[in-house]
Subunit: 353 residues, 2 copies
């Protein structure tokens, strides 16, 4: 029955677009009737952000307001995978990019490119994940857009989220801020997201199923900021994995980074699956983990803050920065050797996010 | 030569992604070396927007700062068409959505989904249009993202732009603000964009070539705001055309809108092409025109302000609002009859933006 699938006309901007919006998209996102009438047909969302409200929320000091913006497109295949779907991935990915810059995420926009023929029930399921993830992260989806392309001109559903947040006074995190002696912490186990998507795509069943770690890092980061540890940088190791992200940090800050392979947390089932698939967990995408770079004297305080949060139970110190081999990441392997860790070259896992 | 096309590895997040960013994307967008080093590898862009700077720019009054956000995905086919390409379309489309809410556009984000095999020279051409259009509109592209999907899983290039702006004090435009007696103005000729894309796509050559009207409306709107005419709403009639947009306004404000067909400006070559293609210019997408709804006593002042700008030379009063038939748009036809104008139903021109 054609009513159940997306048709080209749903992207026309005309009556069918309105019906899709009113009957499917807005209810699934949880916008209520008054939202429909007052905001839906405007060209942009308008929000009041007064200096007073930011001051009251203790987000800024007098005269200081920095905003953060970011964007991410999501083309993950398949769009539903163990532990999540493209909807929560799109919310968490953009929320986390804001959080990594020290921002409190406030607003998201949502752009959808839909392939003709997608089941409307699938769209509803994805949007329901968007709603749940946005609520969990404390952000509002304030503007959206829907385009439809012919069969074979996209792959079911692509999402884009752009995010807006406010950076509280005094937080200055940067990929260029690492110094020799700084300590590298990872907030949890590596590789869960990539293996979950890959196993679903390839139809591989493992004895212990691997689920994506997709999650908002806003709460975990808030815990960390409250600890008042001296933080240099936060980064979420998504595409390219821990290895690529650390290479970027080492290059930006011109420091060497020395990792201890034994200290890097990887779930046994992820390690086995990686072996089977010929992948290295250091290069596999994560969607709910963060790298924390902290001044040496505050490393314990940071670990303590992370471990006190449900998402940080496996947090571990995995390395240190040095003035040796600036720009390079090296790994002390389990068998006692040392090897250089380079950026991901080529495409290890396409369309993982 | 494979170096000349986009490969899956360019979307990996690893070394090839970095090279594409450093060698192609950032130079084409005009980011300089210092931008590369300081900002490119961060997860989000951080901008200083202090209350003081907004006050100094006379954008807000004490205690009042409203922000506007919007997003749009662009899937136009073909990506190059007479008068523009997907790059300037993506900048202008989002800039215009901000402008229609009375906002001064400040920042854009840019998300790209690229089909494997796109020529890098084509990507450069599109990004060069992004740069030029952003400069013309006075906005900065502050954050971006690149994804690559396999051949046949997208259609060359999809873009998403999200926009952020500040709404100056006292501007309250809304689709729900129309009142009986208000005057409807269109800033120029209808249908140019849709016909330009359609003629390119179908390989139709007209005696007088039709070019897209894609343009930023920021300058034209600024002229209008300076006139201090009492404005109710601004809207850009993109997908669905003038007819659909006016239906939305009539519904939101619960007023009737009466149009005068003779007064609606359409270029002769667009009228001929529309006839040939069986299309109605009232439903064809525009990408550089705006509908202005103004209090009756200020209609002349608004027309004068529009006509004084290069983009507003053909501005014309095309109708009025009434308390007759609330929610309905009617057209006095050239032959003296009256017909109801409804929203676009179905898909008249797929993938026009």
């Amino acid at each position: 029955m054609t009513d159940d699938t997306i048709l080209l006309g749903h992207g026309s901007g005309g009556r069918m677009s309105h019906e899709l919006l009113e009957k499917t998209i807005l209810p699934a996102l949880g916008w209520d009737e008054s939202d429909h009438e007052s905001k839906v047909l405007e060209d942009a969302a308008v929000m009041h952000i007064t200096a007073d409200s930011l001051l009251a929320a203790e987000l800024v000091s007098e005269g200081d307001s920095r905003i953060a913006m970011t964007t991410d497109s999501f083309v993950v295949s398949p769009i539903f995978f163990p532990g999540g779907d493209i909807g929560d991935l799109a919310v968490n990915g953009t929320v986390n990019d804001l959080v990594m810059m020290g921002a409190v995420p406030l607003y998201l926009t949502l752009g959808m490119v839909i392939e003709e023929g997608l089941l409307i029930s699938e769209l509803e399921a994805v949007l329901s994940s968007v709603k749940t993830a946005a609520e969990a992260a404390g952000v509002s989806v304030v503007a959206g857009d829907t385009k439809v392309v012919e069969r074979g001109k996209a792959d079911r559903l692509f999402l884009n989220t752009a995010g807006f947040g406010v950076v509280p006074s005094g937080r200055t995190l940067s990929a260029a801020a690492l110094r020799p002696g700084d300590v590298i912490i990872i907030s949890g186990t590596l590789g869960d997201h990539g293996i979950a998507v890959m196993s679903k795509r390839e139809g591989i069943a493992f004895e212990t199923p691997v689920v994506s770690d997709t999650a908002s890092l806003a709460g975990l980061a808030a815990q960390l900021f409250m600890s008042e540890a001296e933080l240099r940088a936060l980064r979420d190791p998504t595409r390219g994995g821990l290895a690529t992200t650390l290479c970027e940090l080492a290059t930006s800050s011109n420091v060497g980074i020395e990792l201890d392979e034994l200290a890097i947390p990887v779930k046994p089932e992820v390690a086995r699956a990686s072996d089977l698939l010929g992948l290295d967990p250091l290069y596999i995408a994560n969607e709910g983990k963060m790298i924390v770079v902290v001044a040496p004297e505050d490393a314990e305080r940071a670990i303590h803050a992370l471990q006190g949060h449900p998402l940080g139970g496996d947090a571990a110190i995995i390395g240190t920065c040095s003035d040796d081999r600036p720009g390079r990441v090296t790994l002390r392997t389990t068998i006692g050797g040392t090897r250089v860790v380079d950026m991901l070259s080529g495409e290890q896992l396409p369309r993982i996010c």
